[in-house]
Amino acid sequence: MSAIIEMQNLTVRLGNRIILNQLNGALSGRCIGLLGPNGSGKSTLINTLLGFYEPISGAARILGKEVKSNLRELRAMIGYMPESDAFIADMTGVRFVRYMAELSGLPRGEAMERAHEAFFYVGLGEARYRKLGTYSLGMKQLAKLAQAIAHGPKLVLLDEPTNGLDPEARIRMLQLVREIRDTGEVSVLISSHLLRDIEECCDQVLILKEGRIAALCNLEEERKANLKFLELEVTQGNGFLESVRGLGCECASFGAGRVRIILPDNIDLRQIYRTASEHEVQIRRMNYRRDTLEDIFLKAMAGTSQAASAQQGSTNGSL
C-alpha cells in the first residue's frame, strides 16, 4: 500500500522550542493512530500537515504531494476535526456543515445534500436544525466529525475525537471511525493519548515522545503475531509441558498452573488440546496475548533510541 503520509527530517519550531524534531517515516495504514503523552507533538504534527505551521527543515508529503507546495489541493482532500471546540454558535448544525462543505469547493446544492447526509450519518439527523451553541459536548464532537467528512475527503485528520465523551458517545464515535475506515474510500489519522481508542480503530500506530518518533509499527502484524502467543491456566499434569515442547513450541511455566506458549507456524491449536487430553490436564483458561499496544507504548516511552528505530520504517522490526 502506498504511503498516505511521508515525513522527511520534519522539524517544527514554535517560539523558541523545537516541537517536532527530525521526524522520518511513512504512514500507510487505512487508519493510523497518533499516540503520545500530552505535549509530545501530536497536534503540532497534524497542524503541520494542514499547513498551519511551517517546518524549519524537512518536508511532509500527503497522498504523494508535498504539503508546502500543494496546500490548497491537499486541503480540499483533507477533512479536519480539531481537538478544541470549533463551531459557530448561532448557526444551525446543517447550515454550518453546508457552509464548510461549500468552502471546500462543493457547489451549493451538493453541499446542502451532503450536509444533511453527514448529519444523519453521524446520528444527529434530528438535531440538525438546532443551533450549534445548544448542542451537548458529545453532539458538538459529532458535528465536528460531520463537517470533516461532508465534502468527501480522502484523508480525515481526527484530533482527540473522543475527548470529553461519555462511554456511550465514545463507543459511537469509535464505531463511526471504524465504519469510515472500512469503506476503503478514505484514510484516517487519529491523534489520541488513549491507547484503547487507537487499538480499537487503527492498523498502524505512530508514537511520539518529546517531538521525536518513539515507535512506528503495524498493529495488524502485531495482532497476527499475537495469535501465536498463548497464555494458559492448567491443572498440574506431569509431562504436559515436555510434550508441548516436543511439538516444537516454546513454553514457560510461571507456577500455579500458569503457562505461556509460543506456537510455531506449523502447529495447530488443536494439537495443544490433544496433548492436554493425553496428559489428563484441564485447561481452565486460555488467552491470546492482548496487551500489544500497551507493551509497544511502554517500550517506546522507556526507550531512548527512538529516532533510530523509527527510521527503520513501518514494520514491527523497527521496535
Partner: protein, 293 residues
C-alpha cells in the same frame, strides 16, 4: 453518504472554481447579518438620504415642483461638488454605524469558538478569508455610498444636459475614489479591531473609541503642544481633508482646523493606519497562535 443508506461515500463531483471560494464567506456573512431584523431595518434606513437627495435634485431642476413648493430659484446651482460631498459625508456617518454594528461580529464569532482553524483547514488562504469578510462590508457600504451617489450624479447629468456630465466627469472619479478610500479604512479598522480583541462588544466599543475618543486625544495633544499635528490621529478629520481635496474644495472654504495639517500628512496618516491594520491582521489572523516564550 446517503440519508437512507447511512454509509460514507467519497465525493467525486465537480468543484467550484478556486478563485470563487471567498464569495462563500461573503454570501454567508451577508446572510447572517440580515438575519438580524434591527440590522436590516437600519440598512433600509441608510437608503432614505438617497431618496431625499434624489427628490432634491428633481425639485432643483423642475420649475413646476419649485413653484409648488414655493422655493423660488433658491435651489438652482446647488447640486454641485458641495452637494455630493455633503451627501457622501452624511452617508459615510450612517455607514460607519453600519460597519461598527456588523463588521466586528463577523470575525469575533469565528474566533469565539475557534472556528477560524476550520476555515483555514479548507482550500482558502488567510488573505481569501479576509477578502471574503471585507467584501461583506465593502458590498454594504458601496450600496449606501458611491453607488447611489453615482446614480444621483447621472440623474443630475440627465436633468442638466450632456454638457454638464463632461464638465464634471472628474466628480464621478472623486465620488468613487473618496468612497473606496473610506470603505477600505473602515473595513480594515473593523477587521483589525475584531481579530485583536475577539469580543464583539469590546470590538465595537473600541471602533467607536478610535473614531470618537482619539480625536479628543488629538485635541489634547494640540492644546498641550500648541500644534495641529494631533489631528493626525483624528481619522475623520484626515479623511475629510482628503475628501475636500478630491472634491476640489478651495482652501479658503476649509474650516480653520483643517489648515494645520498638510495633505501629504493626511495621506500618510491614512496609509500608516492601513499598514498597522494589515500588520495586526497578519499577526493575529491565524489558525493557531504560537506562544513565544
Amino acid at each position: 453518504m446517503a440519508v437512507y443508506k447511512r454509509t460514507y461515500k467519497a465525493y467525486n463531483g465537480a468543484l467550484t472554481p478556486a478563485w470563487s471560494r471567498f464569495t462563500v464567506l461573503t454570501r454567508y456573512g451577508l446572510s447572517t447579518l440580515f438575519d438580524s431584523r434591527p440590522f436590516t431595518a437600519y440598512t433600509v434606513l441608510c437608503f432614505l438620504p438617497f431618496l431625499g437627495a434624489l427628490a432634491y435634485i428633481y425639485v432643483a431642476h423642475s420649475a413646476a415642483a419649485q413653484a409648488l413648493l414655493r422655493t423660488g430659484n433658491a435651489m438652482a446651482g446647488t447640486v454641485n461638488n458641495d452637494f455630493f460631498l455633503g451627501y457622501l459625508g452624511f452617508e459615510a456617518g450612517m455607514g460607519f454605524i453600519l460597519a461598527a454594528w456588523g463588521g466586528p461580529g463577523m470575525i469575533t464569532k469565528d474566533f469565539a469558538n475557534h472556528s477560524v482553524q476550520l476555515y483555514l483547514s479548507r482550500p482558502i488562504s488567510r488573505t481569501e478569508y479576509l477578502i471574503g469578510k471585507v467584501s461583506v462590508l465593502a458590498a454594504l457600504l458601496s450600496c449606501i455610498t458611491w453607488i447611489p451617489a453615482l446614480i444621483l450624479f447621472l440623474v443630475k447629468a440627465g436633468l442638466q444636459g450632456h454638457g454638464w456630465l463632461w464638465e464634471n466627469l472628474w466628480m464621478a472619479g472623486s465620488i468613487m475614489l473618496s468612497c473606496l478610500i473610506w470603505i477600505a479604512m473602515i473595513s480594515l479598522i473593523s477587521m483589525a479591531v475584531a481579530v485583536w480583541v475577539r469580543w464583539r462588544i469590546a470590538a465595537t466599543a473600541l471602533m467607536l473609541g478610535i473614531f470618537f475618543l482619539l480625536p479628543a486625544v488629538g485635541q489634547i495633544l494640540n492644546a498641550i503642544l500648541r500644534t495641529q499635528w494631533g489631528n493626525l490621529i483624528n481619522f475623520t478629520h484626515m479623511i475629510s481633508l482628503v475628501w475636500m481635496r478630491l472634491f476640489r474644495e478651495s482652501q479658503a472654504e476649509f474650516p480653520p482646523a483643517f489648515n494645520g495639517v498638510p495633505l501629504w500628512a493626511a495621506w500618510a496618516s491614512l496609509l500608516a493606519t492601513c499598514v498597522a491594520c494589515f500588520w495586526l491582521l497578519d499577526r493575529k489572523l491565524r489558525a493557531r497562535e504560537v506562544e513565544r516564550s
